[in-house]
Symmetry: C2
Amino acid sequence: MAKGSYKQFCPIAMASEIVCTRWTAVLLRELLMGSTRFNDLRRSVPRMSPALLSKRLKDLEEAGIVYRAPVENEPDVEEYILTQSGKDLFPVVESLGIWGTRWVETEPSLEHLDPTLLMWDIRRHLNTTPKPKKRATIQFIYSDLPKQNRNWWLIVEPETEKIDLCSIEPGFDVNLYISTDLRTMTKIWMGFETFAKAYNEDRILLTGDTDLEEKIKIWFSLDNGLGHFSRVKKLVA
Amino acid sequence: MAKGSYKQFCPIAMASEIVCTRWTAVLLRELLMGSTRFNDLRRSVPRMSPALLSKRLKDLEEAGIVYRAPVENEPDVEEYILTQSGKDLFPVVESLGIWGTRWVETEPSLEHLDPTLLMWDIRRHLNTTPKPKKRATIQFIYSDLPKQNRNWWLIVEPETEKIDLCSIEPGFDVNLYISTDLRTMTKIWMGFETFAKAYNEDRILLTGDTDLEEKIKIWFSLDNGLGHFSRVKKLVA
DNA sequence: CCGGATCCGGTTAGATACTG
DNA sequence: CAGTATCTAACCGGATCCGG
């Protein structure tokens, strides 16, 4: 038994010894979303020190929630994969999210807003079906931010289904411009409001390819209460 | 925003900042089970220091999960009551319990076993319906324990629905003797095995009033996967 | 008994830098 | 890319004490 054990033979107590430690639920969120690499996880939890991230991953491994596996074609690199036990933690993380959506602040404080965190999260987890016909370059313009982090470019490759993110001009022609503010985009991504509502209220402006315009409206139709995180349901199935 | 905030505008992250701190899930378990008094909570989490318990209750109050209210007829005494937000945490605690039942150790280590914790838990939360016809004194005999904590007496008053617990002979006639071992009783109470199975395998012996014998079989029919905790479902409804 | 507060030593987490 | 190392600050556990 671990050192700081609650010493209660109760499933709730024993589960919370593992799951309810600092950062662990957020880390599980990322693993359930499909992140497997150390540095991917690290970008998802930028305020967690790498030492602590490393320790938590070891703890989760010891608890049988993740295992490490070598990455194909990349020697000396490992990834962290959820076991069935880990996948079964989905309802725990989901119920936290449902409660959070209902009961914590619905208006993000400035301190909670972070364009880098948001854009990387979109890059990793945006579901781009239906696919664009050809490579799409989408420029996000956060009109409320200072120049150095106002503009972001998302490049969607329909062939590989890969998404790239740039914070400097990528050199490609831009197919669609999205002009909005960081608060609006963050709330949509996290499920606190719908893309359609913000668009109708002119807090989002779309300019460019109309076909792509229709598709991006679908990609950001996350109006199910949990934002982009609801996508995980099929990932653990 | 609290000091150690994750600074992520994500419902899961914001919820886990509150719920996923040391001891908090176990504390919520007790509050959801209906405990309201500081010392009741304290007995439920004997390994949590009173200072930390006090701090956690303050944190929960600040988060709008509990509120303090004066106790009727007892001046200068307050109790902690769950708000709707707090009651809505039931699915979080429940899903932790479901996962724990499925994935953590199903055989209690000796260090997890504690007769005092178990008997107080039974005293607080045993559902004694159907009621006994008259006051029932039930002696628990843990044959595997040393003399000083082998014998416990549970007194069930049908009038007041109150249950009393003694660790020394209460002086009343005993109506029913339950002879078993601590591991068996703990597993039954926590939902890891059924009373019926243990009884059929002679790991529980009942001696005394046959009417009471039938009733206690019902009281301990907790074969729903979460043990006595499943009772909470109706408490928060 | 009830509901905490205080003090102190050990553990954990954050910040930053560094390495193979 | 995938982590360690180091140092400091915050937190936790255990014991004791205190006012009603």
